[in-house]
Every structure is written in structure tokens, then in C-alpha cells.
Amino acid sequence: MIDRLANGFDPFVIPFMVGMIFVLTYCGIGFLVILFQLSREDRKRFLLSLVNPVTAWKNIKDIFLNCLIHVKLWKRNRMLGFMHSSIAFGWFMIIVLGHLEVWLFVPERIRLLYYPIFFNFFVAETETTLQGAVFFFLMDFFLLLILVGIGLAMIKRIRSRFFGMRRTTRASLLDTIGLYSLWAIFPLRLLCESFTAHISGGSFLTVPMNHFFRWFFGNELNYLPTWWAYSIALGIFMLVLPFTRYMHIPAEMLLIPMRNAGLKVRHPRRGFARIQVLSCPGCGVCIDACPMSVRKENLKDCTVYLNRQIRHHNERRITEISEKCLMCGKCSEVCQVGVDGPLMRLKQRELKKYSINQHYRNIRPDSFPVEGTGKVLYFAGCMTHLTPSIRKATMSLLSKAGIEARMMDPDGGLCCGRPMLLAGRQEQARELIRLNTAIIRSSGCDTLLLTCPICYRIFKENYKLDGIRVVHHSVYFNELIQSGLLKVSKDESRTLVYHDPCELGRGCGIYEEPREALLAAGNLVEAHQNHAESICCGGSLGSLSLNYEKRREITLNAFENLTAEQPDAVVTACPLCLNTFSHYADRPVEDLAVVLDKASES
């Protein structure tokens, strides 16, 4: 292999170089800005994590698996997985191999940015070597891989259902430009390399095409324009990249180490949030996932659009989207990049200023004396007071199991604080937490039993109750059953379906215990979408703006999902889900406790 051109330059590389330099500087500056936006301790933690070998290795692994191979996507949808990884990985390999070639054959050119990309233009093959042949083969192979990927992408554009996606995002103008330039790049590269195959060598793909072209066009002068086109396509792509969804390519490479460093969203726009927003590839998986999408008017309220609005600085819409969300957390569950949509919205809510700010200074914890000495303290919570069946069943189950339990709020108590937290009003939530903590401490209990996942989550995440076990009744009763303290007789004739409440499932990762417990009482079928993918009942306190009639379809859709297997009854473990479903239910909706209570003998 030798240089064909003495100066190793040709004007057609200029478009590429312009784009390349632009993109590098843009990302460089952007990176610094974001780094600067991080709080001091976050920055410190991040930089340290980069040099720490453990996290460093994790970073490399994650970047390779997520950005190039798209493992998560493979798990979710093979077609999409293959499409994305073929393009990403293929392209990556082509670049790597390009550099290797330069490094091996014309090391003195290694410093030229464009050389590895347009290698085949600048070199001439003197004699065929195995080494060269291998390289040419790999090059062609990966190019073919990419072309297949591109092909699939085109099909996806036309028929997204073909990929099992019901809805996908509508691309903006720049996105489209980026997309088409991206599509153009690789066919063009194929052309270029085919044209020059007889000079600079080629393999199973390029050589035959080269022969065909030579036979077709005769002379070989017309290959220069294609190299121009190739370079221009690359240039355009890189010029528009920062302003399109393709920004996720560089952004995700920063997001992964940041996440591995344990950074969290602190401000809805700056620092980590910014990089999250940029990392959103706009794939639109969250649109189908979002329970609100059953109403057409809500289609543009899911996380992918939140990210887009944040990039467009559309304050009105950002607020609207943030307040509408049910905070069920499904979007972040399914997100490939791991964008934490709910947290972004929460932080957005925290920015709101209020002229009336609630306080609870006038409420004294000792006005809630907890009688008795039982070690188990049962906090029913606001919602459970409106679903007496749960409260009654829970108390009866406890007595059946011979457990001495007391109620913390027999005649109504204070709110756990989660609703305030979800409204982004930490100050108020903290005050409620302080009050409740005092009450619980004064009771001298060692176990805090909860029937409401909303309460359970905040007690678990935000309360400091060291020495006291915070447990949800689904878990607790399951233990009692497994340990034999609670005798439950199985009704073989009755099939139940379990609805995973958002706060309990995605929120606290409790999926199996309730099912185990229910299995003791009846046969269990699964909902169409279940566990981490269960659909919010629509009653969530998370949404601040959705009103009753607008939640209707959400509930109906969630219920339909549950009753796919035609169970005799729907079982949930959350008073709010229970209440919401029973408004529209065509079959009994019961709380786990009630089912167990009916099935257990005293």
C-alpha cells in the first residue's frame, strides 16, 4: 500500500473536515458547560469516578454494550436491537479499522483526521497481501451490516408497526435532514469504494461492483464526484447533529459515566438533566408505554416530548407536561437510555413558587397518642380510611395470625407527605415526615405496617426510622402465610389477576410477594402487561392537572389490560387503585388483604 497523492490531500475532504471540527468543538464546549453546571461535590465525584479503575471499566463496558450493541433494545425488541446495533457497531468498527489501516500502512498520515475515513481514496494497492485482504473483507462486511441496518431503518420509517411499535415520534425538519444524510452516507461510501476498488483494493462487495461500474462507465474519472458526495453527506450529518436527536450519540457516552458516578437530577434543566435530555434518542418507546397515551390529546405529554420541549425551551409546555404526568414511572422503566422522566418532572415541579405555603407548626405530635403496647404499628393512611374493607381485613388478619397490633391512626391521622413530595413541595413533606416520625417513635413499635403503597414508598425512601421495620402488608402477610402463622385455604375455582400498583412495583420493586401470597388463596393469571410494565390505574396522585373524566379512558384501558385472561376478580394492593378501578369495574376488585381474609380461617 502506498500513498497515491504526494500531498495526501484533496479538496473534497473539506466538507467532512468542517463538520468534524464543528462537532468536536461543539461537544467539547458543551461537555465543559455541563461539567461546570454540576454542583461542586457532583463534579468531584464524577471526575474521581473517571480515574477509579472499577467505574472506569464499568463505563467502558456499559458504553460498549448500550451505545454500540444496544443490549437493552435487543432484550426489548430484536428487530430494533439489530437495526440499531448494526448501524452503531458497524460504523464504529469501520472507523476503528480505518485507523488501523492508516496506522499499519501509512503511519506518517495518522495525524490527519480525514485519512482513516477516505483511506481508499488516498492509497493505491501495490500487491495483494493477506493482511490487506482481511482488512478489505472486514470493511466490506461491516459496510454491508450497516447497509442492512439502514434498510431496516427505512422500512421502520414507512411501517413502524412492522417493528411492533404502535406510535413513534414525528421528526422535526433538522431531524429529517440528519436522518437522510445519515442514510446517504453508507450507500455513498459503497459507491466510492467500489469506484476505487481496482486501485486501492476491495473485497466481496466492492470488487464486483467495481467491475460492473468499469464495464458500465468505462473510464474511471467519474469517481471523484461520489467521493465529494460522500464527504458532503458526512459533513451535513455532523453539522446538524448537535441540533437533532442524533446528539444522543455523543451525549449518551457522557451520560453513562455520569450515571455510573452516581449523579442524580438536581435541577430540571442544568447539569445531569441536560445530558439526560440530550441523550434522548427520541425513539418514542415511552409513547406506547405512557398510560395517558390512550387519549390522543395526551400523546405529546410523554417523556420524549418533555425532552424535546426542554431542548426548545418551551416553558409553557414544559410546565404543562410536568404537571400532567401520573408519575407512574413506566417511561423510565422502558427507556433504553435510562432517562428518568418522572424525576425530571418532579424537579420541574419543585421550581414552582407559591404565595400560600402550607406549614404544620400548629399540629403537635402528642395530639395523636398511640394506645397499647403491640410491637406492630399499623398506619392505614388517608386513602385506606375511604376503603374500610382493607382496614377491616388487615386488622382481622393480624388477629387471626395472633399478632398484637395497634392502629396509628384509628380516627384519621396525618398525611404521610408523599402527595406533597409529588407536588414538588419538599418543605411541607419534610415537616409531615418530622411529625409522623415523632408519633411513630413515641409508640415504641418495632414494625410499621402499611396498606398503602403511596405511604409505603415515602416511609421507605424518606423517613429515618432505623430500628423500625417498614413493611407493606402484601410482604408482611406473605411472610405470615409462608411461616404458617396464617392459615389460608386455596379456592381452586377462583382465578385472580394481580395489578402491580406503580408505587409498590416500579416504585419499591415489590412484585413477587403479593403474587406468592395470592397463590395461597386462589389461581393466579397474569395481566397482558404486568410486573414492571403494569399500567397505572389512572387514579394516581402524581398528576396535578388531570381531572376525573380525563382519567376515565386510562382506567378503562388499564382494567382491560388486567382482565385479558378473564379472571374472576382483580386484586390490587393499593387503596387508590382499588377505589379507581371499582368506579368502572365489571367484576369484583378487591384488596389483597380482603382476599386473604376471606380465604383464611381464624
Binding site: I356, Q358, Y360, C382, H385, C415, L544, N579
Partner: protein, 112 residues
């Protein structure tokens, strides 16, 4: 000059002069607020009622009757627990009503 007595303010609600700007704005944001039938379910079930006299019914009435000051006191202990929303027979989004009032109380023209 001090006479040892002064004009005592009228207790009447002057419907044609009272300031209902906040209520009107509220209804633009949450039209459901207009549908209250004053059944009192919200007040009865309210977790904060016994501390601050919180009552969405009174809140809505107060805003319509230009009794802003009472509204502020009333809202001071709300915990946003959502029981009122759950029991409202007209399906009013009471939590949104509360948050909206808290937000606009001093600045009716403020946006959400």
C-alpha cells in the same frame, strides 16, 4: 377627633363590588370548580380540617364571596392527601383547585 366610637364596618357581602378575580382565574384553569354543589363531603373527610378549618367547599364559596383572607388561613394546613378529590360527587379536581389558589393567591395574573 376622637368621639369614643367609630363607624363599624358592614358585614354585608356586596356582590357587585367584591373582588372575585381569583375565582374567575381559578375557573378558567379548573372549570370543574364551578360545579360544586356544596355537599360538604370534602370538608368532612379532610385530614387537615380540624387544625385549620380547611374545606374546599368553603374555599370555593369564600372566593366567590370575596373572602380572600379566610381562604388563606384555611389552606395553611392542607396536606394535599387527595381524600377530598376521592369523595367529591362532582369529580372536581380539588387538589388542582388548592394548588392553583396557593399559586395565584398574591398574583392573580400570574401564569401556571
Amino acid at each position: 377627633m376622637d368621639f369614643g366610637f367609630t363607624l363599624s364596618p358592614s358585614s354585608a357581602i356586596e356582590l357587585d363590588t367584591l373582588d372575585s378575580a381569583l375565582y374567575r382565574k381559578l375557573c378558567r384553569i379548573e372549570p370543574g370548580a364551578r360545579t360544586c354543589i356544596g355537599c360538604g363531603s370534602c370538608s368532612a373527610t379532610c385530614t387537615a380540617a380540624e387544625y385549620s378549618g380547611m374545606s374546599v367547599r368553603k374555599l370555593l364559596l369564600g372566593l366567590q364571596r370575596g373572602k380572600k383572607a379566610e381562604v388563606e388561613r384555611m389552606l395553611s394546613n392542607c396536606m394535599l392527601c387527595g381524600k377530598c378529590t376521592m369523595v367529591c360527587p362532582r369529580g372536581i379536581n380539588t387538589r388542582r383547585v388548592i394548588l392553583t389558589v396557593c399559586r395565584l393567591y398574591d398574583n392573580v395574573e400570574g401564569t401556571l
